[in-house]
Amino acid sequence: MTESHSQIDLTVSDVTVAYSNGHVALHDASFSLKPGTICALVGINGSGKSTLFKAIMGFVRPVRGSVRIAGQPVKTAHKKNWVAYVPQSEDVDWSFPVSVWDVVLMGRYGYMNFLRMPSAHDKQRATESLERVKMSEFKDRQIGELSGGQKKRVFLARALAQEGRIILLDEPFTGVDVKTEGTIIELLRELRDDGHIILVSTHNLGTVPEFCDQVVIINQTVLAWGATETTFTEENLSLAFGGALRHLRLDHTDVPGSNRNEILVLTDDEGALVVRPNGSKQAPVGKSSEKL
């Protein structure tokens, strides 16, 4: 590992993206992330989350502003394999004739020679990545033959094999069973401790306080960003979701007017955020592996 790895940060400044049909998907979006963080990108569908990802991936060029990775433009970052992308399940062609091993090896293409012949080191990295996500026994299966959670783990292994320092995850918990969700979260925590930047796009509010230490709240622009405790608040969420959040106040006290035992539930039907009277936030019981 070169020493520059500890300096690989992500800075998004005043990014404005307009599509060719005139629609402005994102405007003046700004935030920055230092190494060693798991950050949630929170917003409704159509809020510009995927546009932001596309800007970091270099698929759209901002009409204003810039995305810088360790001070370098996006293209340079890709050449150095600094950014890894774990796609949504819907975006993958599962009937493509490739095996699990093929997909994980694809993570190493940036390191291979012109003819893309994997070296022993490449194969070793790929094997290690598969072991880390506990998918070694499925090495030779075609990717369509796996369960939802297994499919997600294959692409995580690919990101690991690529040794990307910034890992973008697009809605990683949809269609995934609870056990795999736990495995993924644990893996992400390990990667964070290793100094990676993990950016998770999600609208599952419940899991956010559990494992994300920072959030970026987005609705056509960055409304707020920062540490979860201070940023992931009811006011900011209301801004982001407008009227699109269910706001349930459950009052289980005999004293009318007292809000001592009030529980606040915020949800867009995907994953509820429960705010207890003492201000602590988490997902409802039974959904996560953490004790309340």
Binding site: S20, N21, G22
Partner: protein, 301 residues
Amino acid sequence: MDYLLTPFHYDYMVKAILVSGLIGGVCACLSCFVTLKGWSLMGDALSHAIVPGVSIAYLVGLPFALGAFVSGIVAAVCMGFIKSRTRIREDAVIGIVFTTFFAAGVLMISVFPSNINLKSIVFGNILGIADADIVQMVVISTVTLLVVCLKWKDLLLHSFDPNQARAIGLNVGVLQVTLLTLLAATSVAALQAVGACLVVAMLVTPGATAYLLTDRFSKMMFIATGMGVGTSVVGAYASYFLNGSTGGCIVVLQTSIFLLTLLLAPRHGLIASRLAARASVARFRQRAASRHPAIPEAVRS
């Protein structure tokens, strides 16, 4: 001025212009459904898949249009069958079926030489069209227009959201078959006007052009039909002076109008979009400068 009126002195030109206009209009009307349903290349496939039907019809002594029509329907059925039973994508299925049918047709023509002029199948023969064929085309056109006028709302719903159509009790199978049949029949008629390779243009370009000009389906049908009739008539007329392929002239005109529309359309054209994008960005910046933090309009409500 007199010179410009010369084509109308010739019977065959008048027939060609009128028939082209009729076919152009009918195809354009259907093209609204075709482009919406994503069947653009199906039109291309159908126009090639009719060839074995034509050669068999000649061998057996049946009307050429009947053979063509049956062949087209059989091809469509094969495509549907393969697509529903395998994991092969739709475009590949279309490709396999129509090339096989076309090859079979060409094989038969080469083995059993007949009166079939392959050239006129591929390139159309509107200038030399027989009266019997004209009658055929008028009948097909009238029936198509009638069905569309009566049933366009159901056909539209089926094209847009077949599940919803099923849910409200429409017979989805019948609608699918109806659309396919109309498409096959119109392809056969258009084939005689512009030839197999260009039928696709008549069945796609007018609809796409109208799509860029409006957001209402009923308006889209009117615009498309108008454009279809107009371009076919003018194209056939112009081909007299250019002394070039009639089908070619019609399609070149249609494509040119599409490109112009693409550029200049008031809301969906390239220039308009770019201006709209610039205006939006400027608006957002203004709002951000005047109010802090920036709250997008959508959230405030």
